[in-house]
């Protein structure tokens, strides 16, 4: 085990999982209000009124913690020319033909795309969520804006949930990545296969 590489620090892991737990709560309570077929999810939160009360607070907590995480990870997620090529070869990605793909740094283009979609959708969710938060804020806005915000909120939530489904699946699919986020370490072979440039960078640092 001692030759494994550190991929995420304890703070990064804690931050990630705090956001993940809040996301699950926000998504379940939001989906309860999204479509009648899922209203039964409101029982998990103590009924309809409690779902309505809790959802925005959960959302705000998630947004704040996500902002901290995004701040940490933003630098590593800048899109580079080789990322476009990686995305263009998505067929090779899903077919596991990794050898044909351009070399990847700490994050591959899919992860970077995920990152920026999350940043955008959470920003939209937070801002529109404030507009449609009847108890405290809606009184300050015109009904046309509230209608637009409701629509946008639902759309951003759809984008976020769908993106997270892909994120969770990718984590299950690529063996070793759940471990990376749970205890922070990956094997050298894992790093070399999935993130060769990051692996090299880590090795160089070790030598120095």
């Amino acid at each position: 085990m001692k030759r494994d590489i550190q991929r995420y620090t304890a703070n990064e892991r804690s931050n990630h999982w705090a956001v993940a737990l809040l996301f699950i709560l926000a998504a379940l309570s939001g989906l309860a209000l999204f479509h009648p077929a899922l209203f039964w999810l409101s029982h998990l939160f103590g009924g309809g009124p409690w779902t309505r009360i809790l959802h925005p607070f959960i959302g705000v907590a998630m947004s704040v913690l996500f902002a901290l995480m995004a701040w940490r990870f933003a630098g590593r997620n800048r899109i580079q020319p080789r990322d476009r090529q990686w995305l263009g070869q998505w067929r090779d990605v899903v077919a596991k033909r990794d050898d044909r793909l351009p070399k990847v740094g700490k994050y591959n283009a899919g992860q970077k795309l995920l990152f920026w979609v999350l940043v955008a959708s959470l920003a939209v969710l937070l801002l529109t969520g404030i507009v449609i938060w009847r108890e405290y804020f809606s009184g300050a806005f015109a009904v046309g804006l509230i209608r637009f915000a409701s629509l946008l909120h639902a759309f951003a939530a759809f984008v976020l949930v769908t993106t997270i489904i892909v994120h969770i699946y990718a984590a299950i699919w690529v063996k070793g990545s759940v471990g990376a986020m749970l205890h922070g370490k990956v094997s050298q072979a894992w790093a070399r296969k999935h993130h060769p440039l990051w692996h090299d960078e880590k090795m160089r640092k070790k030598e120095r």
Binding site: L33, V143, A154, W190, R192, K193
Partner: protein, 307 residues
């Protein structure tokens, strides 16, 4: 009793109890006969046992100056100067219009919090209301109000409790001038025709019935002297309909979004079934590393396997 004649129920995808059918009812408010005495407001308070807080006048006759969770109907007074320079009081009794296509019902996320009876009355069931205020967002007439006391939405019920036992709404019962009448929607239209003919004979060429088609018609209708300009009556909407944004927010897009989310999860499952997990193979290590390092890695892997 009343739950056997429901034609629409908020946030519900299966049929509502609807064996019993009833005649379409309507309340007709004749603005040309209304004297603005507010007896209807008082009758509404009395019958429904709601008491609003005592406010202060805001320089006009409107009092309270807006609908609230405790004031389900409010007289709105508009001063209108005609082209000839005459002053007209355009007084309107504001409250729920009981739309045939209710925006509140479409927007409501809570099953059974809003119901529409086969006689056309749109009723809120506060037991099921979760207090989200989506009904306010959905209403083209800006009618429902959230109570600060209990976070439930309230509005005119068209006295559904009275109507269900054969009585007329309290405001109708009390109106001293006969400006408010109640009956079958057909009869009310006929009654309105007579009133409109009378108004036209008195020089109100644009007199007409307000029963806006954009919401499928309403079960509260107005006779207006200026039916061509309903906006004169304290902003009565010209051509109300459910906002396209509410339609998109609550319409077909939601089941489609549900389908897309489900399909994404399913696609993941079948990708796993067909392609299998993306594991780091031993071979990968050999290919990519110098022999010494590879040896170390192998020993390292073997160590782990031995435990």
């Amino acid at each position: 009793m009343a739950t056997q004649d429901v034609i629409a129920r908020s946030a519900t995808t299966t049929p509502s109890p609807s064996v019993r059918e009833q005649l379409d009812v309507a309340k007709l408010i004749d603005t040309s006969v209304c004297i603005g005495c507010k007896a209807c407001q008082v009758a509404c308070m009395e019958w429904n046992e709601v008491r609003d807080e005592i406010g202060s006048t805001v320089g006009v006759y409107d009092n309270p100056d807006d609908l609230t969770a405790d004031s389900w109907t409010v007289m709105r007074f508009a001063e209108h100067e005609t082209d000839e320079g005459d002053l007209e009081w355009l007084i309107r009794k504001d409250g729920c219009m009981h739309c045939v296509e209710p925006g509140c019902l479409e927007a409501c996320p809570s099953p059974g919090a809003i119901i529409q009876y086969s006689n056309g009355i749109v009723d809120f069931n506060q037991d099921n209301c979760i207090g989200c205020g989506y009904c306010i967002t959905g209403c083209p007439f800006d009618v429902p109000r959230l109570s600060e006391k209990d976070n439930k939405a309230y509005k005119c019920t068209l006295c559904s409790d009275r109507v269900s036992v054969g009585l007329e709404p309290a405001c109708v019962k009390t109106c001293p001038t006969g400006a408010i009448v109640f009956g079958s929607k057909e009869d009310m239209k006929e009654h309105a025709d007579g009133r409109i003919a009378d108004l036209k004979s008195r020089g109100f060429d644009n007199a007409g019935l307000y029963d806006p088609a954009g919401v499928g018609g309403t079960h509260v209708m107005y006779v207006l002297h200026h039916a061509d300009k309903p906006g004169l009556y304290s902003g009565l909407p010209e051509d109300p309909s459910i906002s396209p944004m509410v339609g998109a927010w609550k319409g077909l897009t939601k089941p489609l979004a549900m389908l897309a989310m489900g399909a994404t999860a399913l696609a993941g499952f079948f990708h796993y079934v067909r392609v299998g997990p993306n594991r780091v193979e031993e071979d990968d290590v050999d290919d990519a590393t110098p022999p010494v390092a590879a040896e170390r890695d192998e020993r390292h892997d073997a160590d782990r396997g031995g435990h």
